[in-house]
Amino acid sequence: MPDEHRTAATRPASNEAATLAVYVWRGDAGGGAEQRFDVPKQDSQTVLDVVTWIQQQADASLTYRFACRVGMCGSCAMMVNDEPRWTCRTHVERVASDGELHIAPLRNLPVIKDLVTDMDPFFDKWVKAEAVHHPSAGRADGFAAVTPDDPQRIEASAGIECINCAICYAACDTVAGNPDYLGPAALQRAWTLYNDSRDGGGDAILDAVSQSGGCHSCHSMGSCSHYCPNDLDPMGAIAGLKLATTKRFFGRGKGGGRS
């Protein structure tokens, strides 16, 4: 089946050329609805390319967001056939079911227009989770000696490559139901810092993630880890925080004493 497309796809000239039925959510904070576009199929075509084609060739008023186009900036995430995805690195072939695509703004964030959401709540929570390095040294000091095989370093490294795309945030039902919930990405970053031996904010982090909407609101439903495009494991990180806060609750692991 893919081969059929391949021959016809490069430049569809006739009506017979392969097209995708693309339903794009149009609207703003006040509401909206899906609108259909027929988009020619291409060999190399990501969901972002589909959206781009629509804006450039079919409806110049369509709004979406992207920057890097290679999975580094985390600004192009949308709901694609009801699943949160980075559109710049999602090949259409892999997601179009029966030649259909439904594209909508990322879930769990306020919509600004069409496919663009307001990511401020996501980042406000990032800060609220104390997911910001707490320096324990300054520019005049040397570099902390940390060996690559140090278990803490390994734990810190596990989630460090998060691109804050908010895909996990969109996937999580707890975020949907609990407006206070800090969400998987912010909590994972907090866990990364907690394991970062150079970070001086161990207690502040545990306090922050113990507040209402903190790590204890997570039900380990795992959608975050399931959808993270970088194969990170926020669920595991949150479990780490739960254990650390539990230990501190029982008087162990207080202060600098990290797991």
Partner: protein, 121 residues
């Protein structure tokens, strides 16, 4: 609710093992919470009226009721092992084969309630 996009939440996101485990745990929890007051009420009958309790227990012998009782034990077992699974996941530093754990939970629960069911009939 956070904007319109919230309303577009659809089923797809939920099609994976851990999400099912979560929802099963939640539904079983609700089920148990609903059943619990009923259960307490029935037992309290013992204070006032042993005969009524006996009547009730006889009623409980009906096949349909048997089946629902089986369901209850099933719920209890599911919730119990689901809960243990969660706590293991949160507190034991395992390199988590989460899905296996979730499936295992269900298997044990099914086995237990199966035993109960067989005993009951």
């Amino acid at each position: 609710m956070s904007g319109r996009a919230g309303q577009m939440a659809k089923r797809r996101i939920r099609g994976h093992a851990l999400w099912y485990a979560h929802i099963l745990h939640r539904v079983s929890g609700i089920g148990l919470a609903l059943f619990l007051p009923l259960h307490f009420w029935v037992l309290s009958l013992a204070i006032t009226d042993v005969a009524a309790l006996d009547g009730f227990l006889a009623f409980a012998d009906l096949p349909l009721v048997k089946l629902s009782e089986f369901g209850l034990v099933f719920l209890l077992a599911v919730h119990l092992f689901g809960g243990l699974r969660l706590m293991a996941l949160e507190w034991l530093p395992w390199p988590a084969p989460h899905k296996t754990l979730a499936a295992g939970t269900l298997a044990i629960s099914a086995f237990l309630s199966g035993v109960f069911f067989l005993q009951a009939i």
